[in-house]
């Protein structure tokens, strides 16, 4: 992990009211790697992910202490506009959430609101190709996005995120609502994007983490217990709780 750090947390804690969901987490996410967050339900992995694009801002009870740095800049600094941050740090959600509009409009929206100056049609095509969805939808860009299958919807959401040229892609269990074939396509797609984007994937599927990620972080009850190269974490876990989790005895 010697390359440039894109995202970094320093002593990050998140509290919802009285409950501490993230407890003093410090980690670095290097450029153009795929990092998986694993851990049992409620361990805080989604909350941690949402700190990276400030989506927790909309949870009134959430209190964040510590720092989140994006290329060395404090994401929660007074001069930072969260809307601006979110264009550079895109997100794909657990349940596919296309807008109830046409396939074309789903991608055009992000371009328009961010003042995209070039040809929107070209960019829509390029984004759909990058998300390996173009061949399936090129003849019906005007069709309602909600008419797509769940897997296609999720790839549309990825295309939508890619269109505005993010550096980072946050993915919150992107395949957990999908069948195995659609899951496979999402995993293939992550493989295609690897190297061009810094990707952080939350997953509760350890085989998936092992298949798609370069590095894996194991979170347990809000704490970061172990974070290293995926292969080493799965073959040689140091913490006994990590071992218990990856062997299925904890969770």
């Amino acid at each position: 992990m010697s390359s440039n750090t894109v995202l970094e947390t320093v002593g990050l804690s998140v509290r919802y009211g009285e409950t501490r969901v993230i407890d003093d987490v410090s980690l670095r996410i290097p450029e153009n790697r795929v990092v998986a967050f694993i851990g049992p339900s409620g361990c805080g992995k989604s909350t941690l992910l949402r700190c990276f694009n400030r989506l927790n801002d909309f949870v009134p009870a959430a209190r964040i202490t510590g720092q989140v740095l994006f290329r060395g800049r404090d994401l929660y600094g007074a001069e930072v506009d969260p809307a601006d941050v979110r264009r550079s740090i895109g997100m794909v959600f657990q349940k596919p959430n296309p807008f109830p509009k046409s396939i074309f409009e789903n991608i055009a929206f992000g371009l328009r609101i961010n003042g995209f100056q070039d040809d929107i049609g070209d960019r829509v095509e390029a984004s759909l190709r990058a998300a390996s969805l173009w061949d399936e939808v090129s003849h019906r860009l005007d069709a309602d996005a909600l008419g797509l299958s769940a897997g296609q919807q999720q790839r549309l959401c990825i295309a939508r995120a890619l269109a505005v040229e993010p550096e980072v892609l946050l993915m919150d269990e992107p395949a957990s609502a999908l069948d195995p074939i659609a899951t496979g396509r999402i995993e293939d797609l992550i493989g295609d994007l690897r190297g061009d984007y810094t990707i952080v994937v939350v997953t509760h599927n350890m085989q998936q983490a092992a298949r798609i990620s370069d590095d894996t972080a194991f979170l347990y009850m809000g704490e970061l217990l172990e974070y290293k190269e995926t292969q080493r974490l799965f073959t040689n876990p140091e913490d006994e709780r990590t071992e218990a989790y990856i062997t299925g005895r904890l969770g």
């Binding site: 809307a83 959430n97 961010n114 995120a161 505005v164």
Partner: protein, 294 residues
């Protein structure tokens, strides 16, 4: 199952299935009776109104002014007054109501003050309409010197239906799933962009049908307009918002209060027209809802 724990056995049951079923049947009939009662009384009312009112309905009745002679009296000014009034009420209550709802749902911090506001708006929806009439008389007619104008009437009725519009709009906005907002935010949308492009369009059918229902409420109101001094006899077309006016419910009230039998028939005719208008508005609300509902 826990090893060693014996499964429960040997308890005594009295299922009395037949008695339970009979109780169910009794309850079903009770509910049927309740529905039948409501429908029957409505039908009696409708049949009575239609029987007395329909014979008086004619194109002339709709386009002539009221008169002291029953055979020459019409509801032209009442229809025009109602149309003017409802248009003005819509123009006032829709933007204010939706604006308030957007603020309460999307911008307001979740704290005690917001809760207090929300509770009080719900309470306002239950305040008797005559109280709004008194408020309108004091504020619009006297203090703002709007006199007995359409504007004063519309402002009063807007106050009356504003809580209804706010409540309907809030519910519609709250029904928009957060995943939609998050999708927009995650692409770099500002709060306003998310509201403008995704929340409001998704909530619009609910907002519109709620607004139309609120307007039909306004269209049927008499008491607050009588209080602020809407006239009962108008023999000219209103041409500006500062003109005095009458509306269908007031015309009906006026004719029903007349001792002459012929005027009662005219009142029934006007009721048929008012019912028709309100039914049309309700139908429009349902149509809008069904059209956009996924």
């Amino acid at each position: 199952m826990n090893p060693g724990a014996a499964p429960p056995r040997g308890g005594r049951f009295e299922p009395r299935v037949a008695a339970r079923r009979r109780a169910g049947v009794r309850f079903k009939w009770l509910c049927r009776f309740a529905v039948a009662f409501a429908v029957a009384s409505l039908l009696v009312l409708l049949v009575h109104i239609l029987a007395t009112g329909l014979p008086t309905l004619s194109p002339d009745f709709l386009v002539t002014f009221p008169s002291r002679f029953p055979d020459r009296a019409g509801i032209r000014s009442a229809i025009l007054g109602s149309l003017w009034l409802l248009t003005l009420v819509a123009a006032m209550s829709f933007p204010l109501g939706v604006g308030a709802a957007v603020y309460l749902e999307e911008y307001a911090p979740r704290n005690r003050l917001t809760n207090l506001l929300q509770t009080n708006i719900a309470n306002l929806a239950g305040v008797p309409s005559i109280v709004y009439g008194l408020l309108g008389l004091a504020v619009f007619v006297r203090f703002l010197s709007l006199e007995r104008s359409l504007l004063a009437g519309a402002a009063t009725l807007s106050l009356l239906v504003l809580p209804l519009v706010i409540i309907a709009a809030r519910e519609a906005i709250r029904a928009v799933p957060d995943s939609l907002r998050e999708a927009a935010y995650a692409l770099g949308a500002t709060r306003w962009q998310a509201i403008r492009h995704h929340v409001l369009p998704a909530a619009l059918p609910g907002i519109l049908s709620g607004t139309i229902l609120a307007l039909s409420r306004a269209g049927g109101e008499t008491a607050p307009l009588l209080i602020i001094g809407a006239l009962t006899f108008i023999a000219f077309d209103p041409v500006s918002v500062m003109d005095p006016f009458t509306v269908l419910p007031i015309q009906i009230f006026n004719w029903t209060a007349d001792p002459r039998e012929e005027f009662h028939a005219l009142a029934a005719g006007a009721i048929v027209v008012l019912l028709g208008v309100l039914l049309l508005m309700n139908a429009a609300a349902i149509l809008i809802r069904n059209r956009y509902e996924r």
